[in-house]
Symmetry: C2
Subunit: 140 residues, 2 copies
């Protein structure tokens, strides 16, 4: 059981690596392949999309514009299992090279995405994703 | 099965109502009772707490200061089941009456919290919570 958990954790970390790698080559199809067919996606503005195809279409659009030269780094991945085939995953990330809609450089971003990932057969994929930019000023 | 889903959806809506009601009377113990014993909580600043007791302690502190006169409204609750005893829940909220650390009024806030809720026995509670303020400016 412990070995299975370790294997699952490694598979989830690989999933996050696939996610960032495909982001960084700006390949919407490859990026969307890390999502489940019936995934629910919510971006940092609270805008939603349902399904792998919608995730691909949205990212095809932004990978050719605002995020064409963006680079994403997953700084920390924390996994919490909820049964054998579901897990909640927090990913702290930073991004450089993004541009706003007017084409102006977007300052380096720090954010937190939270996922529910699901195992189907032998494959883990993203079932639910929410993303947020972290505010610069905190309570502490 | 459909009747069970309807009952579960109603129970989850009741959970969100309990959450907002206890927020609005600024009762940390009652608020924390909507969380599972082993809950993971992340606030809008990305700060984390583990366990119902930690959730209670954090909220006892902020309910007597910044959020003493705050009022929370859950504007929209969207539930997605992931099996019979787990669901992902999005809650769009707005808040008035909050103050910043300096005691100055915090303008009306609009946000999105996303939850994983779990059923244990007959009781649904919050297993994982992430919260965010929605940015005022969107891409659209």
């Amino acid at each position: 059981m412990i070995l299975e958990m370790i294997a699952a954790e490694q598979a989830i970390e690989q999933l996050i690596e696939d996610f960032t790698k495909s982001w960084n080559v700006h390949d919407a199809k490859s990026f969307a392949s890390t999502f489940a067919e019936d995934a629910d996606f919510t971006n940092v503005f609270g805008q939603k999309a349902h399904g792998r195809r919608a995730v691909e279409n949205i990212h095809a659009a932004i990978f050719s514009t605002m995020f064409k030269e963006s680079h994403l780094i997953a700084e920390e991945v924390v996994t919490r299992f909820m049964g054998e085939d579901l897990a909640a995953v927090d990913v702290r990330w930073c991004m450089s090279g993004a541009r706003d809609r007017q084409g102006n450089p977007w300052p380096e971003r720090n954010g937190l995405m939270n996922l529910v990932v699901r195992k189907e057969g032998r494959k883990w994929s993203i079932l639910v994703m929410h993303n947020m930019d972290l505010p610069v000023i905190t309570l502490n």
